[in-house]
Every structure is written in structure tokens, then in C-alpha cells.
Symmetry: C2
Subunit: 324 residues, 2 copies
Amino acid sequence: MTHLKTSVVLDFLRENQGHYISGEEISRKLKVSRSAVWKEMQYLRDLGYVIEAQPHMGYRLSSIPDKMFADEIAYGLKTKFIGKKIFSYDTLDSTNDAAFKLGEQGMEEGVCVFAESQKKGRGRLGREWVSPKSKNLILSMLLRPSLPPTEASKITLAAAVSVIQAVRKTTGKTLGVKWPNDIVCGHKKVGGILTEMSAEVDRVNFVVVGIGLNINSVSKELPKGSTSLKEIAGHEVSRISFARDLLEQLERDFLLLKKGHFETLAKEWEDFSVVSGRRVAARVSGRKIEGEALGIDKDGALWIRKDDGLQERITAGDVECQWK
Amino acid sequence: MTHLKTSVVLDFLRENQGHYISGEEISRKLKVSRSAVWKEMQYLRDLGYVIEAQPHMGYRLSSIPDKMFADEIAYGLKTKFIGKKIFSYDTLDSTNDAAFKLGEQGMEEGVCVFAESQKKGRGRLGREWVSPKSKNLILSMLLRPSLPPTEASKITLAAAVSVIQAVRKTTGKTLGVKWPNDIVCGHKKVGGILTEMSAEVDRVNFVVVGIGLNINSVSKELPKGSTSLKEIAGHEVSRISFARDLLEQLERDFLLLKKGHFETLAKEWEDFSVVSGRRVAARVSGRKIEGEALGIDKDGALWIRKDDGLQERITAGDVECQWK
């Protein structure tokens, strides 16, 4: 577990990025001793910050580490509640489990948990989620929506829209979504969303939205049939800047959901959907349903027109597209 | 927290209930020292067991304490999985929270948590559940059903049937159920069921069923409009023996549910329902729906025929019967 302690020295260096500032000036303006300034520089360098030091000129921040430090993600983040509190870890068993515990402890809506790697990362239905260390995005977010459990799937769909919009902003590329929770590029998987909840029968206590997205990994490091933003965009992507964009987009979309505008999100979702209008095969508790995917309804369930003309509503299970 | 350690001496006394057994015989048969036997008698007496001792005759168990000790409930319990592991506590914040933690820890299905009192007992929708200490039943049970969250309400309905059947066996009286989770006698509340779950959008991880039932409390100790089995039956009810009957009935009903026979339970539920066929007023997220309650459907939702002839399906909220 690596936490970056809130560092006023770092804030000061950031504000003067590109310029040298003397140790004396830092010491005077922040009212700390010269030796405290020196110790802080060492601490920041140990974390991976590149701080140049020149005699008679002072210190200059020349690069920040490629680490999902809470403090870095929060720096310049323009949100009201998503990510107002961020916990970041080097390794966790599961960010969803960690966020779930925060939910049980009564932590407020919008708290985010990031990790560089997970020991027991999970996908849907208890499947494993594999993500090479410090390459990708692993995020779980606590929400407290006023929804019955039957409508929790709306949150997965909203999060998928947020991910695709944030990726578009960062890379200019438009990914697809494969019902219910896969983020894809053509046939290849780029990410997934795992929504879990603590609920009464007719009321959600809280929801944890887990998002795993391949950012700077390459195919050979990933499970078969996967790709990453780096491969799609043709260049590395700043994980921190992407995380900020994503949190801002998530806030926009969850506010829409809270205000009852799910149909706006559903329309965006349909635009990104790789299943709608395609021939699909769905597996629902051992049964196979084949036909044309028609789209999602107001609760986020998928409708399939079967070959016998009957329409069936799917709320669980897996869907495979039949590509021509 | 009071746990009864598993006591071979107690088992020996129980097997010989009504007869004196000499300390020497106990010591010889159980292969423990005379002083260990004496210490064990003191331990059991401290817990409230009445053990008579007569010179030249030995010890005799003449009564057991009115406490929900795990060991007492388990003694003679005829179940396969419900209550094969029981935790009992003097005081807990909430038995549902304790059972939820056991669920997160991967504990097996059927684990039961009993408490004499709760500091933060909850009813549905975050309401308070009040139960005077050591008078009533407070039980939470861990289940791992293969259900989507949309069908979790079936578990509440099944548990209501179990409670009413167990009460009938113990007292000969038939209580009623007021949708979705109140156990009632006429207009008065006798108990309630709080079903909570950890779930993905389309799969339940585990369910905790909390049951609170007024057994030996009297009205003046209880919230307004409540009564107890003691008041209904006209005599005290053995809480331990009732708990055993309840666990056995719960197992029967959950096996029915697991085997897909919800309609059998739904039929029993309808027989006990005080709302079906009656004029009701339901409050659903601020809206009031008045009309005749028709009954529950295959997912446990309540149907109401409104005054304009339209039928509405209710999955959440509160229902008040309009008594004539």
C-alpha cells in the first residue's frame, strides 16, 4: 500500500512547474525549515517524482510518476461528489471489496478506490479480472442511489457510457459496449464493469461500481481476445489524466440518472451498442436464445427477437454477437 | 457476548434428566477429574442452569435457563443445513449485520445468528426494530440461493410462511401476514422479516434473512400496536423450543424454494395473507395507490385493482389495510 501524503511542497512545485524555485523561497513561503524542504524532496523522489536541483537556482518539478496516486488524480479534478475522496493503493485483493467495506462503514457517495493491481480481481459472475500491474485503470466507486435493486443495471449501463465518452475525449476513438457490461473495440475486449450492491429486497443500501480498463498494456500481457487504449490509439495514454476525465464523465452521467433521465443515457448506450440490430446468441441459465438483438428497455434489459418471431427479455447471462 | 462452550458434562446431565448421577460416575464416564466436574457445574450454574446436588446421590439437571444459547437451540435440532452452525450473543448491534459479515467471510449457507438484544436493530427501510432483552426472538440466517436480485422477495415470503407455521405448531394459533413482511395478529404486529443481500446486478452473492418475533414481551414493553405470542396464546412460550421448530420449518420452506416450488409457498402465503381481497392503500415512493389487493404474482409482487379498474403491480412500499 502506497499513499502519497498531502504535500504542500508538491503543490508549490506544481504551481511553478517549468521554473526553478530556490529552497530558500520554498522554506520562507511555506514556513518550514530548509532541512524539511530537503526531506520532502527526497520523499517525493522516492515516490517517482523527477525533481531537478541546480545550484543557485533551486528545484524544478520535471515529471510526475505514472502512478495512480490519489493526490495526483484529485489535482485539478472538476467534480462535485465523485472522487472528492480518493483512496489509492499499490495492491489490493479487490477494489470492489474495499469500496464495499467503505459503504458498510457509512462513507459518503462518490468515494473512489484505485489500485495498481489486484490479487483477487473479479469480473461478472465471479470470473477473474486480470490486469498487469501499473499499466491500466482499476477503479471502484461508492454510490448511494435511490433505486430498487431491480434497476441497478441502469448504473452499469450509465458507467459504460461514461467510459466510452472519456475514452473518446482522450483518444478520439469510439469504443463499443457489448450488453451487459463489456467495453469492446470490434471483437476485442478493452474493459468491463462490475456493479455490486448491498440491498434490501426493495431498496438499495449502496452500490459499488467497479471499472477495469486496459490502458497501456499490450495484447500479449492480457487475456486472449483483449486489447488496450494504447494499441487502439497507437500511443501511451496518461492514466492520471484519463482517470480525471472519467470521474468527471461519471459524475455527469450519474447526475442524469439521479435526475431520472435514464432515457438520455439509454440513447447514448444504444449508439455505442455492438449488439443492437445484430444476430446474437444469449446464454441464460444454461438455455441458449438465438435471434436479433433489438435493444434495451427502460430498465436496461435486452430484448431479443427469436427466429420463431417471439421476443424475449434478457436480464442476466452472456451474449455473443455473430459477426459476419 | 455470552457463548456457552460445548459442555460434555451438560450433555451427560441432559441424557439423565430427572435422575441424580454421582460426581464419581460423571468423572469416570467422561474421564475428567472430580474437581473438573465440580468446576463445570459452577460454570453451568453461572449461566443459569439449575443443577441440584444431593449428598450421596449426586447431581441432577432440573431446569435450563431461558437464554438463546447456541448449544441449547442445536440440541435435538433436526435440520440438514439451517442452524448446523449457530452463533448466539447477549447483545449485538444488529444480527443482520453480523450475519452479513459471515457471508462476506464465505461462511456456508444456513449459519444462524441469535441475540438476546440489539443496540441498532433494524426493520425495513432503515426503520428501528425494538425488542426488550431476553424476551423475544432475534435471528438472522445466511442463505446462498441461486436467484437474481429481482426474486429475493420470494425469500421474505417463504420466511413469513415458516414463521406462521412454526407459531401454529407451538401455540395452535394462526397468525397473518401483511405484505410484504409483517407478521400480524388482527391489527397488531407480532413480528417482521428483513431480507438483505449482497448482489451483482443479475446474481445474488448471498442473502441474510432477519426475523424478529415478539414471544414473551407484553404490549406495554413493545411499540404501539404490537402484541406477542404470550398475549395471543395466553401463556409463556419456550423460546428455545420455538426457535428449533422455526429452523426446521425454515429449512423445509427454503428447500421448496430451491427446488423451484415457489407456487406451493405462494399458495400458503395467500392463505395467511390479511391483505388479499381487502381494500388497501399502498404508499409507493410518495404516491398513494388505493384499491382492492388481488394477491401476489410469481415474483412475490402485490397486485392492486384500483378504483378506475386498472391493475397495478407493487414491488416496494407500505400497504395499509382498510378494516371495516
